[in-house]
C-alpha cells in the first residue's frame, strides 16, 4: 500500500487527535495573532458610545452553555462598555438554561468590576417564555411580561423600572443568540413593530444569516462568533477568553484548510489514475 493510499484511508482518530492538538497547544503556548476589526462589530460599539448616560440597554441572553464559549465573552464585553458609560442594563432571556450565564455576567461585571447597585443600575428578569409572543408583549408593556425579577422582587419595587415601561424607554437592545428563539424573533416581531436600535451577537455558524438584516438597517451591528467577541474585547480594552481563543481558532482553521487541500489532491490523483 502506497503512502498516498494510506493517507486517503486515514483513520479519523488521527484527524481528531490533530484537531485536539491544534486547539490545545495554542491555548497553552499563546502566539498572539493581532485581532483586526470588522465593520459590523465596530458599529455595535459606536452605537453604544452615542447613548446618553442613564439610557436603558436591554440584553437578551438567548443561549445556553453550548454557545457560551463564543457568546459569553461578547456578553461580558458589551456589559463592560455599558457600565463604563453609566448606562442602565436590563437583562432577560428566552432560553431557560441561559439564565445563570446572564446572572454570572452581571455578578462579574456590574457587581465586582463596576460596583453597580442592583435594582438601580441593572436588573435581571431571567427566563421569559413565549418567544415571539413574549417580545410583542414586552415592546408594548414591559410590566405585562416582567412582573418579578429573578429574586422574586415585584417590578414596581425596582427603582430602575419606574421609567422603563415599554420599547420606547429602551435605547438599545442586543440579543446574544445561538438559535430559536433568538435573533429571528427579535428582528421579525420586536423590531418590525417597535423599531429602535437592535443588534445581535451570534455564534459563527449562525452569523452569515444576519448580514441581510445589516443591509436593510434592521440590525445596527453584528458580533459574529468568537472572532467578533475578540474584536469587542479589543474595543473595550479588556482581553479575555475570546482573544485567547483566537490563536487556537487560527491554527484549527489552518488545519481544516490543510485537510481540505490534501483531500482534494488525493481525489484528483485518484480521478486521473482512473
Amino acid at each position: 500500500m502506497s503512502v498516498l493510499t494510506k493517507i486517503s484511508n486515514l483513520d479519523r482518530r488521527i484527524i481528531f487527535l490533530a484537531v485536539a492538538l491544534a486547539v490545545t497547544i495554542p491555548l497553552l503556548l499563546p502566539i498572539g495573532f493581532p485581532v483586526d476589526m470588522s465593520e459590523p462589530v465596530q458599529k455595535v460599539y459606536d452605537l453604544i458610545e452615542t447613548l446618553q448616560p442613564g439610557s436603558v440597554v436591554l440584553m437578551s441572553i438567548d443561549y445556553d452553555p453550548s454557545g457560551a464559549p463564543e457568546l459569553y465573552p461578547a456578553t461580558l464585553s458589551v456589559m463592560r462598555q455599558c457600565f463604563a458609560r453609566n448606562l442602565r442594563v436590563f437583562v432577560i432571556g428566552m432560553w431557560a438554561t441561559g439564565v445563570p450565564l446572564g446572572q454570572r455576567a452581571l455578578n462579574t461585571v456590574a457587581v465586582d468590576e463596576y460596583h453597580k447597585e442592583y435594582g438601580k443600575d441593572f436588573v435581571n428578569f431571567g427566563f421569559r417564555p413565549g418567544g415571539a409572543v413574549m417580545l410583542v408583549n414586552l415592546g408594548r408593556n414591559i410590566y405585562d411580561v416582567c412582573r418579578q425579577d429573578v429574586y422574586g422582587t415585584p417590578v414596581e419595587d425596582l427603582p430602575m423600572m419606574k421609567d422603563v415601561r415599554s420599547s420606547k424607554d429602551i435605547a438599545f437592545a442586543i440579543t446574544f443568540s445561538m438559535g430559536d428563539p433568538g435573533s429571528d424573533q427579535w428582528i421579525w416581531y420586536y423590531h418590525a413593530r417597535y423599531r429602535g436600535n437592535l443588534a445581535t451577537a451570534q455564534t459563527a455558524i449562525g452569523a452569515p444569516k444576519y448580514y441581510q438584516y445589516l443591509q436593510t438597517g434592521q440590525l445596527v451591528g453584528l458580533i459574529g462568533g468568537m472572532k467578533g467577541a475578540a474584536e469587542y474585547e479589543r474595543l473595550v480594552n479588556v482581553p479575555g477568553l475570546a482573544t485567547v481563543g483566537m490563536d487556537s481558532q487560527s491554527i484549527a482553521h489552518m488545519l481544516i484548510i490543510g485537510f481540505i487541500v490534501l483531500g482534494n489532491l488525493l481525489y484528483w490523483r485518484e480521478k486521473r489514475n482512473k
Partner: protein, 208 residues
C-alpha cells in the same frame, strides 16, 4: 364534532390574528393582548408538561430495561438533583453566586454542554477531509469561498494577507446575503401557504 370544533377554533383564531394586525383600535388590540397572554400561560405550562413527559419516558425505559437504560437513570438523577437545588427552600437564592444550583450548573452542565457542541469541530474536520471535494466548477467555487472565509475569520488570515478579512466581508455582505435572502423568501412563502392551509382546514395532519 371532534374534528369540526378544532378546525373552527383554528379558523376563528387565525382570521382574528391576521385581521387584528390591520386594526389598531383599542378594543381589538386589548382582545388580541388577552389572547397573547393566554398563549404565554399555555407555553409556560408546556415546560412543566415537557418535564413530566421526559421523566415518564425515562422511568419507563428504566423499568423495561430498554437499550441503554442506564443513561435514563443518569438523566433522572440529574433532573431530580437540579430541580431540588433550583427549588431549594422554595426561594430565588438558587441564582446567587456559590449556591449549590450555580455550582452544579457551572461545574457540570456548562462543561458537558460546551464539550458536546465543540465535538462539531472534530467531525467537521473529518468530513471536510473526506467529503469536501471540488467535483465540478460550482463545488470548486464553494470550496474557494469557504477557504477565503475561514482565513478571513481568524487573525492568522490577516497576518498572511490583509485582504482576506475584506474579501470575507464582501462575500458575507453580497453573495451570502443574496443567497440567504432568497432562501428566506422561499421559506416564508412556504410558511404563509402552510398557515393559510391550516386556517382554511386543508392541512389537518397536526390533528392526527
Amino acid at each position: 364534532m371532534k374534528r369540526q370544533l378544532p378546525l373552527a377554533i383554528i379558523f376563528a383564531m387565525g382570521v382574528f390574528t391576521i385581521v387584528t394586525n390591520f386594526i389598531p383600535a383599542k378594543p381589538v388590540a386589548d382582545v388580541n393582548q388577552m389572547f397573547r397572554n393566554w398563549y404565554l400561560g399555555i407555553i409556560t405550562f408546556f415546560t412543566f408538561l415537557g418535564t413530566i413527559n421526559l421523566a415518564k419516558v425515562n422511568v419507563e425505559r428504566t423499568r423495561d430495561r430498554s437499550r441503554d437504560w442506564q443513561y435514563s437513570i443518569i438523566l433522572l438523577v440529574a433532573l431530580a438533583t437540579q430541580l431540588f437545588l433550583g427549588f431549594y427552600k422554595w426561594s430565588p437564592d438558587a441564582l446567587r453566586e456559590g449556591s449549590p444550583f450555580m455550582y452544579v450548573y457551572f461545574n457540570l452542565q456548562f462543561p458537558l454542554e460546551a464539550t458536546m457542541y465543540s465535538l462539531l469541530a472534530f467531525f467537521m474536520t473529518s468530513a471536510s477531509f473526506r467529503a469536501f471535494r471540488a467535483r465540478n466548477k460550482e463545488a470548486l467555487l464553494l470550496l474557494l469561498a469557504a477557504v477565503v472565509v475561514m482565513l478571513g475569520r481568524v487573525p492568522i488570515g490577516s497576518s498572511i494577507w490583509d485582504g482576506f478579512p475584506k474579501v470575507t466581508e464582501w462575500i458575507m455582505s453580497y453573495p451570502n446575503a443574496a443567497a440567504k435572502r432568497g432562501i428566506m423568501i422561499g421559506i416564508d412563502l412556504g410558511l404563509i401557504s402552510m398557515a393559510l392551509r391550516m386556517i382554511l382546514g386543508i392541512e389537518r395532519s397536526y390533528m392526527q
